[in-house]
């Protein structure tokens, strides 16, 4: 599995995605008009796709990073262990992303 490049790619995506988080906080501190602009963007199809991609990048990078942490501690180097950690990060990242979005829509984020 060549997943280390995905770890790096999601890291770079999160780097620029942080601009969205900063924009959202600044808008909340600025006032109703600025906040409405953010909501219009994140509510649009393209905005939702970007935020969905950001959610997956974040959760994948988190789990993939924990995999590196296991290796830093000196465990999980056998071939089957490496495979299990990598598939766990991949499947876990996708599953958690879907779970977060189901919760988001359930509590009214889809409005």
């Amino acid at each position: 599995m060549a997943l280390s490049i995905v770890h790096r790619a999601t890291g770079v995506a999160l780097y620029f995605g942080t601009l969205l988080l900063a924009w959202w906080l600044i808008a909340a501190a600025s006032g109703p008009t600025a906040y409405a602009h953010v909501q219009a963007f994140t509510g649009s199809i393209i905005g939702r796709l970007i935020v969905f991609g950001y959610t997956w990048s974040l959760l994948h990078h988190l789990l993939s990073g924990l995999r590196h942490f296991v290796w830093d501690l000196g465990y999980g180097f056998k071939a089957n262990e490496r495979e299990a950690l990598t598939w766990g990060a991949l499947i876990g990242g996708i599953s958690l992303t879907v779970l977060v979005w189901i919760v988001a829509y359930t509590i009214g984020g889809g409005r």
């Binding site: 906080l25 600044i26 909340a28 906040y35 509590i107 984020g109």
Partner: protein
């Protein structure tokens, strides 16, 4: 012993000790892990905070973001993430950018970007907390 025509009187060991290829030793390696663990601990509260804000207007969002425990969690997460992404992007730059001048400019731009994002976000949260 150093190379015969080297102008330095320091031994190779003295020059490399605590530094290595990154010229900054293992500090960044440690801080990368430190901030990673911090964010792992903070990720669940941060996701809960974002979910709490969905569908609310600015007044509702500002009220939640201005409360003390939420502001502190977000401040910790922003500091950890901006520090983490500064180190991570520097590694990427050092891996892929080979021209020394372009590399220095890229590393500098990376620092400016991360510090600007961090300070803008921190300022926004403090402003929300003080209710100005």
């Amino acid at each position: 012993m150093s190379a015969p025509n080297s102008p330095s009187m320091r031994t190779p060991l003295a020059r490399v000790r605590n530094l290595g290829a990154s010229h900054s030793g293992t500090k960044d390696f440690w801080r990368q892990r430190l901030t990673a663990v911090a964010m792992t601990l903070l990720i669940v509260p941060v996701i809960v905070i974002v979910l709490m804000l969905l569908g609310r207007n600015q007044a509702g969002a500002a009220q939640i973001l201005g409360s003390m425990p939420i502001a502190i969690v977000l401040l910790l997460f922003i500091i950890a993430s901006c520090w983490h992404m500064k180190i991570g992007m520097q590694v990427v730059i050092e891996d892929y950018v080979h021209g020394e001048k372009v590399k220095l400019a890229s590393v500098m731009a990376n620092n400016f970007f991360c510090i600007a994002v961090a300070l803008a976000s921190i300022y926004a949260i403090l402003k929300l907390s003080s209710g100005v």
